[in-house]
């Protein structure tokens, strides 16, 4: 079985929101749209987004670091939002594991959003139905696009390649190798939802320098005892 998913590398995400804007642009003008905003240029702007970049601060000043954290639907392997849907509008595709909403069947009861621990679903105030990330299903399944463009808009837009896209069930895919070899992890594992999207942790490149690497000392490992000058003839006394 195929399970398409994103792997997001928090180590290289710079929090530029390019994935947010490209997602909004693609999806508001395509199959899933419109993603309508209210008061976009006024006080209290709000609207529907599939993808948001959040920012967290780790540690206390001055020992802090900033973590930019892109969050969209994680396309869980055990999606809690699907069985609770009373109409069957929420479903998980059998062929690629993507969780989708049928906007023509959704009654807008919001029960699926209660069942999602990640807050990945957003209610569209204009269309009055629940919306969420589709992994750009209309791009990735569009055979008329060149192969390299059959990727989600957010992945195409990311300037630092922090977003990888592929089949996490294929052990040799780029995403599976990244998860396996670079410590990929899932969000809220205690909820038991088995999210397909994974995150790669922050990693620091550290150098540990020992003081003795900076100041040269004789016999640094103290392997031999110092033998004192006992007045005997030494090599220095030899006249060459």
């Amino acid at each position: 079985m195929t399970q398409m998913a994103l792997v997001i590398d928090l180590n290289v995400c710079v929090g530029c929101h390019a994935c947010v804007t490209s997602c909004k642009q693609w999806n508001t003008s395509g199959w899933a749209g419109p993603l309508v905003d209210q008061n976009p240029y006024d006080a209290d702007p709000t609207g529907t987004f599939f993808n948001r970049v959040q920012t967290f601060e780790v540690g206390t000043f001055p020992d802090t670091e900033t973590v930019h954290f892109p969050k969209s639907c994680l396309h869980c392997e055990e999606p809690p939002c699907v069985p609770v849907c009373p109409t069957g509008a929420s479903y998980k595709r059998a062929d690629n594991g993507i969780v989708l909403v049928d906007y023509d069947k959704c009654i807008g009861c919001r029960y699926c959003s209660w069942a999602c621990p990640y807050g990945a679903r957003e209610f569209d105030e204009k269309q009055r139905v629940m919306k969420k990330c589709t992994l750009c299903i209309d791009r990735i399944s569009d055979q008329t696009l060149p192969e390299r463009e059959r990727r989600p808009a957010c992945v195409m837009a990311c300037p630092t390649s922090a977003r990888l896209f592929g089949d996490v069930h294929d052990p040799d895919s780029e995403v599976s190798i990244a998860i396996r070899e670079r410590g990929g992890y899932q969000l809220l594992p205690e909820c038991g939802t088995q999210p397909a999207n994974h995150y790669l942790p922050r990693r620091k490149t550290r150098m540990y320098i020992h003081p003795e690497e900076l100041t040269r000392v004789d016999n640094p490992l103290l392997k031999e005892e110092f033998i004192g000058d006992e007045g005997d003839e030494t090599l220095d006394d030899v006249a060459w």
Binding site: A43, F49, F56, V58, P86, C116, P117, L188, C191, R202
Partner: protein, 325 residues
Amino acid sequence: MHPAFSVLFLTTLIGTGQGLFLALYTGQCYSLASFLPEQSTEFYTFGSLLALLLLLAGLLASFFHLGRPERAWRTAARWRSSWLSREVLLLPLVMALTAAFGLAHWLGYTQPWFTLGGWLRVDPTLTIGLAATLASFALFGCTAMVYAGVPFLREWRSTFTVVNFTLFGLSSGFLLATGFAAYSGNHLAAVYGGWWVVFTVLAMLSRLASLYRNAHLKQKSTTQSAIGVRHQFVVQKAQGATGGSFNTREFFHGRSEATLEWVRRSFVILVFPVPILMIGTAYLTHSRTLAIVAFFIQYAGLLAERWYFFAEARHPQNLYYQSVA
């Protein structure tokens, strides 16, 4: 969670309707066992009509919760997996059976089909009433499981939710029945009043226990597990939107701790001790209307209780929406 008034009215109104029907059927069982003289046709017919109107009002309120109410018929589709779908199927069934119960009494279908054990006269009203009783209890279960079935809303995910919804429905329904019987000068008022005290005291014990449980709940999810960074201090600085989003509107009650405290105290007082004192007074003074006043006071308390039920639930998604920047 944000308490939506449509859902507050839905759950409290249908609970009262179911409770009222169950009270009527209890009355019929009492007269069947010859504890009390049989009630008039009007008593059952009018009582069933009242229960039906309450259920209808609840159903109407539920439509205000939907973004697309014209598609509500689709909710019957996933009864195998969704408690909401089951609730939606059972509610019209309870309404139909309650209507049939009232209609059977009105049309006088009380000739026994057969007699069991020489005394149990099985007639259409008894059979329909039994079916409606089973459906009512199933509906209590489904309504509560809509909330208790969300796996990581820990305040809701407890047997208390099912017990409380059932007992609160029984309590308000029996109180309305008490008022109705007292107003029509019926002997059943004392019976209903007695059962009402039992249900109300049980509901009080169960709700106080669940309040204690929820106050001492330790949440499983933390900001650390939400973003997967292991550090003692992780603070959100931005949530990706400056003016809020669906996530900040749907999952936060937006009130102060003081308001929450005030609502909690209000419902504990309005649902339990005040109506009990009023019913005691009504019993002593043989008042015909005091029980109806008590019902409205308790119903106001039940709305506050349901509001608090939503407000006290802390959704794990709120970990991602702690700070607007």
